[in-house]
Symmetry: none
Subunit: 376 residues, 2 copies
């Protein structure tokens, strides 16, 4: 992985021959210029977290008098909706050109910008597949009591056109969600604690996204080995998660400070089967916990071998929370337990065990640990 300092302006179009993409690299350049240097139809997925154009007023203080550290960076300032729209359409157009016909687009935003982005997405011919709501488990309150707590952000997921094929790993999502179809609203905590990149005690990037969000995005709509491009790379959450999930990435970021932080972070990221317990907090635990959540949040690592109490059968945990047997069969913890026993159903939580220091323990114990850690 390396940083490509600046793409030559004179050689933008097809500067990079197909098959020789700058994979797993960060291009330090303007996003439109950098995309122009890539060939047509070479990317499987674009994830974009563009400036939101927040249009904030004066300072804001909490009831206790402390000051809110808001997003005041120059990159989020636009003089008018017209200028913002022009910018949006320009980068979307390039994203569309470099996407394969089977590729998909993800864009995240808030009410400040998402309607303008969505309109542009539709006007350019993309076909919206879902709008996904990221429900923040711990949003900042509305301190003055003037509105509803702004507790969510919106993602748009779109294919190249109405008739286009695209990747949707339905089974992976359903398994991750304990055998219930994944819905269009995802509850996840904001990026904080250990995961939040800091330098000299200050956050490196004002709007770093949680890895759990990108985990679900990439797992749902890309295949291993797919190339994911992020034109607003920031501190590289997309890259770190792509690496963990065995996807390739191309990041574009203009700010050297962000590039440096992203570089360091991605180098430290471990592909899934080697990664240690990651502190990737899940949402406020529901009464029900999906097995996939334990994997997503690092309580169980992909690759862990499970077996029944008498060690007659074995299975390996996959990244989406499914199990794979020795013969290649795969499915949920419940389904695989039932299949092996020839039973109509099976409670996977008590059937499957993992090897602990003091012997076999049911995976339900991990669920209990998770609940204890996340319940109030």
């Amino acid at each position: 992985m390396g940083v490509i300092e600046k793409v030559k302006k004179s050689a933008r179009v097809a500067a990079v021959p197909a098959g020789a993409l700058p994979l797993d690299s960060i291009l330090m350049d303007d996003c439109i210029a950098a995309m122009k240097a890539l060939p047509d139809a070479c990317i499987d997925a674009v994830f974009a977290d563009p400036p939101y154009n927040l249009q904030l007023g004066g300072d804001l203080n909490r009831p206790d008098g402390s000051h809110v550290d808001a997003v005041t960076d120059d990159w989020d300032k636009f003089d008018s909706f017209a200028i913002y729209d022009k910018f949006t359409r320009a980068w979307l157009k390039e994203a569309r050109r470099i996407l394969k016909p089977t590729g998909t687009l993800w864009v995240i935003g808030s009410y400040h910008n998402i309607f303008r982005v969505g309109t542009a997405v539709q006007d350019l011919g993309f076909w919206i597949l879902n709008d996904i709501v990221w429900r923040k488990a711990n949003p900042m309150p509305n301190f003055k009591g003037t509105r509803f707590t702004n507790a969510h952000e919106t993602m748009i997921w779109a294919s190249m056109g109405e008739k286009s094929r695209y990747t949707f790993n339905y089974r992976a999502m359903k398994t991750l969600n304990d055998e219930i179809q994944m819905r269009s609203d995802w509850e996840l905590p904001i990026c904080a604690g250990q995961e939040r990149l800091k330098k000299d005690g200050h956050k490196v990037h004002p709007t770093q996204k949680p890895e759990a969000l990108l985990y679900r995005v990439l797992l749902s709509s890309t295949k291993p080995g797919d190339v994911v491009l992020d034109p607003f790379f920031g501190t590289g959450t997309t890259g770190a998660v792509a690496k963990r999930l065995g996807r390739r990435f191309i990041g574009i970021e203009r700010e050297p400070a962000y590039v440096e932080a992203a570089q360091e972070r991605i180098e430290a990221a471990l592909p899934l089967d080697e990664s240690n317990l990651q502190i990737m907090q899940a949402g406020k635990a529901a009464p029900r916990v999906a097995f996939g959540t334990l994997v997503e949040t690092g309580y169980l690592q992909p690759g862990t071998m499970l077996c029944d109490t008498k060690r007659r059968w074995k299975a390996s945990v996959r990244a989406d929370g499914s199990l794979v047997l020795a013969d290649g069969q795969a499915g949920s913890i419940h389904k695989m337990g039932a299949t092996l026993q020839g039973a109509p159903s099976c409670n996977g939580w008590t059937f499957w065990h993992y090897e602990a220091a003091d012997g076999l323990r049911p995976i339900d114990a991990v669920r209990q640990t998770y609940l204890l850690a996340t319940q109030p």
Copy 2:
């Protein structure tokens, strides 16, 4: 309550003199034509559930072969985004004209249309206050397993402009939500069961909204007696809830079958009695009490010493209701609290305490005592 069959086209503008609005009526007409007949700035809130522009390709069947009664009515077909945009801007422009400067706009939609609506709302000068996500507790599953379960709809809430005043019943919303600020995501069941209007076993309207949704909308952003207009009245959920909550309504609906169903339904709806409505206005209802009043009326004696919770700072109450510090500085309870803490502002009512028999008590407690003694 009556149905005004058709507003004369020749007398649209100001046909209804201000003060003589067709309150608690359904106008059976095209929504733009009917709005044109209303005077400027006469409406407190507009709630709109416009056609969604769903472009379903053919019929949709469940895996068992049964038919899904989707939105296939003629009014829901638009040839292109351009036509839809034109229609959207036309009705929004009229809605804006008839809204008071202090009024607010609500629009509900799905990913098919909400981005276009939101862009139009912003372009016309409305100022978005929140986007609200209605999380459906029981959404229809995605039968084909090709996408995420579409489990929510989006509402846009906007004031007339960036600097416009508007109504937000913060206390009512907080009370409704168990004393925690109401968030921008609302979990509510879809409209089904007894509430769902049916005729001959078939639903009367394809997209009837639950009353709980309108209850929250109207309770949060209107006052008793306010006039609410719904340009896409359908089967009249807005009217039924407005009646229950002591608000006035004007509904516009073109389809005679819907008008008839709405008429019947609203006549059967029962208004809440006034005492309930009073309770829901609580908080705002409490009249402001000046600190000086408490001194004036003998609830606090001049010369009383006040301090903060940790007794770090002290001040003495003067006869005019100001505080004086040890160093001679004097001012209001708020200003002195802010000065001492070096904070931009301070709520003196909760900052300052007096010595009671059982320890320190905030001066706000004195205010409560005063209110209880003097309120009817």
